[in-house]
Amino acid sequence: MTKIRPETDVSPQEAVFQTRIDAEEKIEPKDWMPDKYRKNLIRQISQHAHSEVIGMQPEGNWITRAPTLHRKCVLLAKVQDEGGHGLYLYSAAETLGASREEMVEALHAGRAKYASIFNYPSLTWADMGAIGWLVDGAAIVNQVSLQRTSYGPYARGMVRICKEESFHQRQGYHIMMTLAQGSAEQKAMAQDSLNRFWWPSLMMFGPHDSESAHSAQSMKWKIKRQSNDELRQKFVDQTVKQAEVIGLTIPDADLSWNEERGHYDFGEIDWEEFHRVINGDGLCNRQRLAHHVKAHEEGAWVRDAITAYEAKKRQRDAQAAA
């Protein structure tokens, strides 16, 4: 766990910085910021970007098999949006001095992570519903909170991303609703998908607050605005009701409404599974990274060609001007 540094060894610059943060001012790229703030943000934003990009794979997996042309177009557009979010986020990280190349290299080398939810496979069409409904749903809860994050470019990126994500979440929910109202096979498919994605979605919010690294300092710097457990509770509360509406059952025997808390109580997360999957035992860890590396390597000659073409063009332009 990162400890909050005691006030005593804070430099005057850092004190001013913290005052601005406390006053809810946004930090902008050219502003002075503590090195750790910068590094912490780069880590978080690039992980977020990688998650969007790796997240294209489980859904991309069903584009060629979507069951109707309408659903195919919606899915294609959604995966495209995810790529677009990746782009905004890489740009936001670049304002902090990280290059896209470095970030991609860190991903390929295993130094940078992506959301572990994408280590789970998409096995049926219902997973296109569950991913939109639950995975995007969980992402939105987190991202809505991040709209108020202290770093300006990241906060503004979140505003834009949230709009699209909530659209995706509704599309995913609509797929699930259609299946839940469909044939017995379709309903079973939807329930099975919910069973597989429910717990991994809760894991998306990260460890319990008591176990969470980075959290305290991030909260003080307002990089994070709400704790993992607060966000997770919010997600559970909204999602349980949505499941009821379409007649699907949340796979948690301990789930019950707690009148006193005004929240749902829910069962304990299998943190052992969480760590196993993050550390390499998911069904798709190696495939996700290998897919990204392969596309990147196969594209090298194309990127080289652009560079060569632009250089020739500049030379021609210069000769024409001379």
Binding site: L69, L87, V302, R303, A305, Y309
Partner: protein, 255 residues
């Protein structure tokens, strides 16, 4: 043709154009998460979406003309290989990025000219589809032509790959400009596009682009045809087994 009503001929024509668009859109969609860089991934997806959208318009019109309860999805999901009538160039496996872009360029040059003609179709639905498609095709062509230039006049490797792609595609050109009696009759009525008339300007445009890209115009003496008669390369069947899996495995449901 004497036995076929104009409506039936138009229906078949719409299916053909829908098949072209769907199959090419499918091949483009295979690039999703596989492109050389992220911006290009999004751009390819955009073009895929335009073509699949185009397929939906043509199939919807065919469904309307069928008048038997079929929908756009019936044409995409419930016909086997021999019933698909796309021109062969559209179905060829995506190959490397040079192949995809070379094909896209040849088709975009064709498609823009085609849609510009279809704007004045006496069939108002076809004309309306063309109005939307023509704008898309202008953007597609700008992009794919740029790629032919960049790859053709880029590195030695990219030049070689682009030249190979053009060579491999060349024999599929002829089919784009051939018409059977169905299309000739419809063209005579002002409904279909006279594609034979597109050949000259298309060739001129393509040759100019290849020259600018430092690429050679292939001296190929082969040409392959059959798409409009449902004769295909073997790759189409595999594409369909993927495309149609859910509808085939769980028939007759809503999704």
């Amino acid at each position: 043709m004497s036995a076929m009503t104009t409506q039936e001929a138009t229906r078949q024509y719409a299916i053909r154009l829908g098949d072209d668009a769907l199959i090419l859109g499918h091949r483009l969609s295979e690039w999703c998460s596989n492109a050389p860089f992220l911006e290009e991934d999004l751009a390819l997806t955009n073009v895929a979406l335009d073509f699949i959208g185009r397929a939906r318009m043509f199939y919807s019109y065919a469904a309307e003309l069928s008048g038997d309860g079929r929908s756009e999805d019936s044409f995409a999901y419930q016909r086997d290989c021999r019933e698909f009538t796309n021109l062969l160039m559209h179905e060829l496996p995506r190959g490397d990025f040079a192949f995809t872009m070379a094909r896209q360029y040849l088709i975009d040059e064709y498609s823009l000219a085609f849609m510009e003609q279809m704007l004045s179709s006496t069939d108002p639905t076809l004309a309306a589809i063309a109005a939307k498609a023509v704008k898309e095709s202008r953007y597609h062509l700008r992009r794919s032509r740029d790629w032919v230039l960049r790859l053709g006049d880029g590195t030695e490797e990219s030049h070689q790959r682009m030249q190979t792609a053009i060579n491999e595609l060349w024999g599929y050109n002829a089919e784009l400009f051939e018409m059977d009696t169905l299309e000739a009759d419809l063209a005579g009525q002002g409904i279909a596009v006279d594609t034979t008339a597109l050949r000259q300007p298309w060739s001129a445009a393509v040759q100019a682009t290849l020259a600018e890209a430092t690429l050679a115009v292939p001296e190929t003496d082969w040409s392959v045809r059959g798409g409009r008669q449902g004769l295909h390369t073997e790759s189409l069947g595999h594409l369909l087994s993927e495309l149609q899996f859910i509808q085939r495995a769980y028939p007759g449901l809503e999704w």
